[in-house]
Amino acid sequence: MSDASLNTTSYENEAGFGDFFALLKPRVMSLVVFTAFVGLLVAPVPVHPIIGFAAILFIAIGGGASGALNMWWEADVDALMKRTRKRPIPAGKVTAGEAKAFGLTLAVMAVVMLGLAANFVAAGLLAFTIFFYVVVYTMGLKRRTPQNIVIGGAAGAFPPMIGWAVATGGISIESVLMFSIIFMWTPPHFWSLALFMNDDYTKAGIPMLPVTHGRRVTRAHILIYTLLLAPVAVGAGFTSIGGPVYLTASVLLNAWFITGAVKIWRRSEEAAVADKYAAERKFFRISLLYLFLHFGALLAEGVLRNFGMEGW
């Protein structure tokens, strides 16, 4: 043999374990884990710690699987946006087919295992969440309508409801209210992001509200949804999962959030450009804190209840 050559390009980009983990969107998964955990803990039925742990894990894997399927479908637009360009598929680490197989396998496994570990109401809700996120939001709405995140936000709102179903085996007003808080919170959260990331969405051709209707309309929509969110969030405080701690936190947080939304609504585009969307960026950060502290307060009420300090 006189010649030997190695094809170095074929494996230089080969995926490591971390690349497959990145397909699961770990940051989104952390929100799923936290809200599902709160939903499970505030429920009036105690769950064995191991069963609770396993259920949260399978909910997280189900959420991660829908993330992988989303990346499979979105690989072409992900390559165009600065925020998503380094994801495993556009970076060439994982092929779209691998991501699809990985996502489907994990999705089926998560749903079946959640059914066996907890109950089939929770498993059914998880299956519906995955279907809603992948088929309804990613394949159906995202590239077609500026209302994409309003309807698609439901997918992110299901985890506390699934957590509640793991414990109780059903659906009730409390779990619907936890769902509604996240559902109503999603539009102002994502639209504030879209206000200062508009260029990315324009380039990718995704019809986010600032792209299709302009920033003025988006600012008004942020305010409207923030005002609609407040009674839902405060209202949860009067149910069995609420209490004085939650109610105080919720009133203060909603006052803060509405103040921020009014500020955004009154701002002119010139002022926003001049300070590089400082108020919009701040509102986005506040929105993350808003959701975290609301569920944190629900968790606090749940813990207090376990120590015999009933909320109401």
């Binding site: 080969e14 374990f17 064995h48 191991i50 396993a54």
Partner: protein
């Protein structure tokens, strides 16, 4: 390109295989833990063994 025994790709593949191995091991431990938890909680532990058994048959209403 020099031919070396250990290429970076070998470490990456080992990492991937070790990750899958650990994930599978964790899954086995989890299923075992769940089984113990379910039995401790007094969930249904009897299964049909092809012969009628009083604890497995439906109650007959008394007259």
């Amino acid at each position: 390109m020099a031919i070396v025994k250990e290429h970076e790709i070998h470490r990456r593949r080992f990492g991937r295989n070790a990750g899958v191995g650990l994930a599978l091991l964790a899954f086995v431990v989890l299923v075992y833990g769940m089984t113990v938890a379910k039995m401790q909680s007094g969930d249904m532990m009897e299964a049909a063994d092809h012969s009628p058994r009083i604890s497995m048959t439906p109650e007959v209403p008394s007259e």
